[in-house]
Structures are given as C-alpha cells and as structure tokens.
Symmetry: C2
Subunit: 416 residues, 2 copies
Amino acid sequence: MDLKTYMEEISKKAKDASFSLRGLSADVKNTALLKIAERLESERERIKKANRIDFERGEKKGLSRAFLDRLLLNDKRIDGMINSVKEIAGFEDPVGEVVGVKRPQGFVLEKVRVPIGVIAVIFESRPNVTIDAAALCLKSGNAVVLRGGSDAIESGKVLTGVIRSGLKDAGIDSDVVQYVERTEHEGIDWLVKQDRYIDLVIPRGGERLIKRVVEEATIPVIKHYKGVCHLFVDSSADIDMALNIVENAKMQRPAVCNALETLLVHRDVAEKFLPLVRQRLKGVELRGCERTTEIIPGIKSATEDDYYAEFLDLILAVRVVDSLDEAVSHIEKYGSHHTDGIISESVASIEKFVNSVDSAVVTVNASTRLSDGGVFGLGAEIGISTDKLHARGPMGLRELTTYKWVVRGKGDLRIL
Amino acid sequence: MDLKTYMEEISKKAKDASFSLRGLSADVKNTALLKIAERLESERERIKKANRIDFERGEKKGLSRAFLDRLLLNDKRIDGMINSVKEIAGFEDPVGEVVGVKRPQGFVLEKVRVPIGVIAVIFESRPNVTIDAAALCLKSGNAVVLRGGSDAIESGKVLTGVIRSGLKDAGIDSDVVQYVERTEHEGIDWLVKQDRYIDLVIPRGGERLIKRVVEEATIPVIKHYKGVCHLFVDSSADIDMALNIVENAKMQRPAVCNALETLLVHRDVAEKFLPLVRQRLKGVELRGCERTTEIIPGIKSATEDDYYAEFLDLILAVRVVDSLDEAVSHIEKYGSHHTDGIISESVASIEKFVNSVDSAVVTVNASTRLSDGGVFGLGAEIGISTDKLHARGPMGLRELTTYKWVVRGKGDLRIL
C-alpha cells in the first residue's frame, strides 16, 4: 500500500471509531484505563524485550547516550507508566461539563464541553509518551493517531498492542488508538493533511519536526515547541532569592523544557550578582556576553546561537542588560514564548515585565520549573503549548476538549 | 517591491505596532472607536465616491446583482457602520480580565486574558467588514491586517484611511491597522506564511478561498466557512411548531450563513408534513429526494450537489429519512458543522441528536437563525467559526483574545 493511502486508512479508522467514544460514561473510560494498567503489568517482559531491540539497534546506529537514555524502558519506567495511567483514571472527566448556561432571549443556551474528535500526536524517542498520550486522549473522549520516533518503533508497536488489548477488555472499539507503523519521514507530510479525519495535530519535538508539520499541515496544529526560558534579575532583586531561583531553574532538572537557558542581569547588580552565580552554580558551564566575561573572567563567550539555544544541559547563557526594556526585547527576539520570569522587588518593574513579555507563562520571583500542568493543578498534561490559540502553556485534559453550543427552545424564532 | 516583500513589510509593521496596544486602557481604545465613528460621518461623501468607483467597475465587469448589492455602500449602510463602531465602544473590554486565580502550592497563579497579537482577516466583497473587523480587533487589543476582496479595493482603501485617522486622533499608532492594497491572488499565499509576525488568520468566505488559505498557511487558521444548516423533523415533532421553525429558518433572511439549506423529515410524518411545507413556504423552490417528489409532485429532484450546497437563496433541499441515525449520517456527510437542529417532542431523540451531531451549534425546537453572537449575548461577532479549536460557533470579543499564566511567588522553587 502506498504511504498516502496508508495514512488515509488509519486516519479514517480513527475517525470512524471516534464516534463510539462520544457518549461513553466516565466509568467505562476509567475501566479501560485500569485494564490498560493491568495489561502493562502482565506484558512487562514483552515490553522490555521489544524495547531491547530498539535500544540495541540504537546503540549500533551510534545514537547519543542522552537519546538512548530517553529510549530505555526499565521496570522503574514501566511502573511509572502504570502509575500515570491509573492517575489519569482518577481525574475528573472533562466531557459533558456544562461550561455555561444562559437565557439570552427566552430559550436556554448551553455551552457544553465535548471531545475534539481525532488527535494526531507526533513525538520523538520517549516510549512512555505512547501510553500517556493514548490515556489522555481516551479520558477526554478523543481517538488518537500516534506517530512515535522511528527509533522506538518496536516499543511503540508493543505498547499500542497493550493499549488496544486493554480497550477490548473494557468493550471499547480498539480502533480509537492507531499507531503509525510506517516510519518513513514523508509519512508525516501525509498524516498532517488528513483534514477530513483528523481535527488536531500536536507535534512535540525540535525545530525541524515542528517546522515540517507547520508547513505541511492542513489541520490545526498546537505546537509543543522548545523552551528557551529566561530569568531577568532586576536591579531591585533580592540577591539571595535570585540565587536560589536561578540555581533551581537551571540545575534541578536541566533536561526539561521549563529549565532556565538564559540569565539576563541588570547592569546595576551585575558586578555583585554574577560572581555569586559563578560560585553557586557548580558544574554549570557559563557562556557570557562581553560584560559578563569582564566580571567573571575565564568563562566562555556566548555566541548569537547560544542565545537561541535550548541547551537541555548544564549550560547557561548569560547577558548583562542596561534596562528592563532591553531584557524584554532580548526575550522577544531569542525566546520561544514558553516561560520567562523576573526577579524584582519593584512593583512597577514587575507589572511592566508581566504586561510586556508575550510568553505562555510569566513568573515573578519564582522558578521557571514551576511552569507545569501538575504543579498548576491541571492534572496530567499532554505537554506545554508554545502557541497562543486554543491552549497556551500547560495543556491538561480540559485543553483536549472543545465545546458545542446547544439551543433548547420551545418553537423559538428569530424576529429581527 | 515584490509581493512577498510587500506582505512581509505590512505584517512586520502590524507586529511592531501591536506592542503599543497591549497596555492600552479601555478608555483610550473606546475614544479611538468614537473618533473612527466621527471620521466615518465626516468622510461620508468620500467613502461613497470611492465605493461608486468599485461599483461601476463591478457593473462593467458583469458582476452579479447579488454581488453588487453586497458591494454597495449607501447612507443607510454607512449609518450601520457608524452604529456598529459605537456599539463596539460600549462593550466590556475583554483584555486584562483575570479568568482564574489559584494557589496550587503557595504561590499565586493567575490566568489573565490578553490580546492574541496580530490577526489577519481575509474577506470578500462587503466593505463594512473592513470597519467591523478593525473595530473588533482594536477593542480586543490586536493589530490587524485586512485583506478585502479585490472588487472592493477603492472602498477598502478609503475606509482604512478613515480608521487610521481616527486612531491618530486618539493618539494610537495607526500602523495597528494595515490594509493589503496589492490585490493579486498570490498575495494571500504570502500573507498566510508571515508566521513571524501574524498570530492568527481568519478567512471568511467560500470553499475556494478557505481551501487556499488552509493549504498555504503556516499560521493558525480559524475558518469561517459556509453554513449548510439542517433541520430534522422527527416523527414525534409538533407539526405546527415545525412549520413555524422551518419557515423562519429558511425565509426570514435566506442570504445568511445560519439560514436553513436542507430539511430532513422522518418518514413517519413525511406524508402529513411535506404538503404543509409546500403550502407554507411560498416562493421557495423545493428540491426533493425521490420520496419527497412522490409526496409533493411537480417539484424538482435534488441532485447530490444540492445536498452540499449553501444556496443563500429561496431554495430548499428536502430529504425523507428512515430514522434519526440516517439524519445524523446525512448531516455528518453533507453538512459544514455550522448549525443543525432537531424538532422533536421525544426526550430520548433530542438527547441522542444533541450528542451525535458534531456541529458548532445544535438547536432543539428552535430556528437555526438563532445561531448568532448578538442573539447569544456575546456582543459583536467577527463571524461564526466552523472550526473546533480555540473558538467554535459565534466568535465575539473574548474569542479574539488568548490568555497568559502569571506565577507570582516569593522565591518559590520546584522541589520534586
């Protein structure tokens, strides 16, 4: 079968099956999730075996250590997937919630939360995303087409098999979860053109993947793009607080998207603050602007590319700025509109920063690491949207739904 | 200047100017709207003169009566534009509203409504859309790039000049409103690729325009596509109510998107109901399925195309169906997910229909004509979204905004 037809067929299968999810009670969906958790437990050895194949192939191919680490499924990570599915079963069902009721002109007008329909999730090497994305889509009443990284294909296939068995155990049409088994890159181009069947594409990944999806798609896209997160240390900042926050934002878990990548320091505190940063952030490679390297000699000079970079590592770009306006301009130019913050004791500076920075999450005297669906109390998150439409920042179950207007009349007509 | 550069330049101008709108108070924005209303009044003759040029060109070109009618600006319509702008000034400012506040873990988490940024509105012949779209974008704090129909170019240019003068009168950077003066069709392709500068594209128009935008765009799109609206008259329907609703939905204003286009009738009431429809809908051309033409002889047979058609005229497609399921399948296949309704006295049928029909607005015992931002109490509307993401159905001022998360801490860190 040619690639285009293959993508059409699995997308159509998902669409056809999606109708069966619409009226499903929370109980049935939760039962299915618990069945999936059971199957993950009973199929543990088969999952590890399939993952071993991916892992060894990856090693032979010379994939990086970091990549191989993301690819690996061990018992601890399988436990994590099981817990995640159980946790999703415990969250409130977002579907059917009446968001608003009005009586604008006699008739009853309801705004009701409903599933989006079919969601395509395109992701990279982490096999656990297969489980998380399927579970979140199921809970929110959506069918899903999963397109995982080609290096995780064996793991992805087995995990999808496990999910589909769990769905069957609960009496749900297993076609509501589709996994793209054809890993050619051009397949993505066809997948994101299935606008008759797919309602939303969520690409999670780097610049190349996102760009490709955005250029090819005829379906709405919510990008989960990189996090080039900034902190601006204002002239009025509490220096101790600033040190704690910068350390936490950079070092607590450097490989994730809400970790700090660039530190902007007001010139009035730079001479005092930067040497303390150098002391506190042990093991972090600093790459500074000219003024930074004057204050803390011996560190690397930052290149233009460093300011655009999502290091996901113990590397921090540093720049001294003359003003809050310069900090805002830097963030506008180099940032990814993910999470950016200010550390300041000045109400005027704080409000100016909050109003001027056009990012999904703006932090004030807090770590960028707090930008997270779990921390925000949204429940499980499918990721962090760097787009502005539909969902911005952490995307939980509610953000995987849309709404429908229901007009309930008694023969109501339009007069004017 | 080549077309690509032209589109880049006006988009960049809009983006640069958009920052100045962010912190603007409701008062300043409302003053600007009232100044625009004043300018529309004082420039009335110049507007009519420019419109006369478009109109005469259109006549020579042989444009249809209906098209020319939509193009025409007379005193009454200019009054309408003035009133519309004044009305928008009177609506509540959506920007800055705190949609939610939580304290998930000690810090304060706010979800705040903010402008989207820059919106491109692509529309067809009605010149008043120039004013409405600019006024709604201004009120919601967005810069706008307007791309009107090429046959309304003179009217569009003069109206934009009027808007920009009004903005200047109020001390606002007039670059927040841009009008595309280059009317080549390929310009649209370049416009919808300005993802560095434009945040959202709203195309309002027919199939060809929408398809082109969706295929070319790298920016999120909210389609305002056609309204192929259905009413299903169930076997339990109150026949008098059904007649009143069908008449109102088809005849009260046939040229608009929420007017009825296809009537589906349950076979058990078809013999009784259809002859009454024939009597009541005087002047309406019926196009029926085989069973319909047996019951009311002498009417035209409906073609496959008729079921897909948005007639916008006194024409109604009619089909007899065996069941509610068949009605739902028909709507799924031929409809545009705009507004579809049921007329029924059976609670079970009503709930099944409401849950199964995947349209922006579902009506129960009410006219499809009620599907309207004004009727729903949303204030002025920029149109009716037939998409599922971000905004569905009538789109008012709030739907022209997004939100931002603000984390306000006192040195809060992430521990786990």
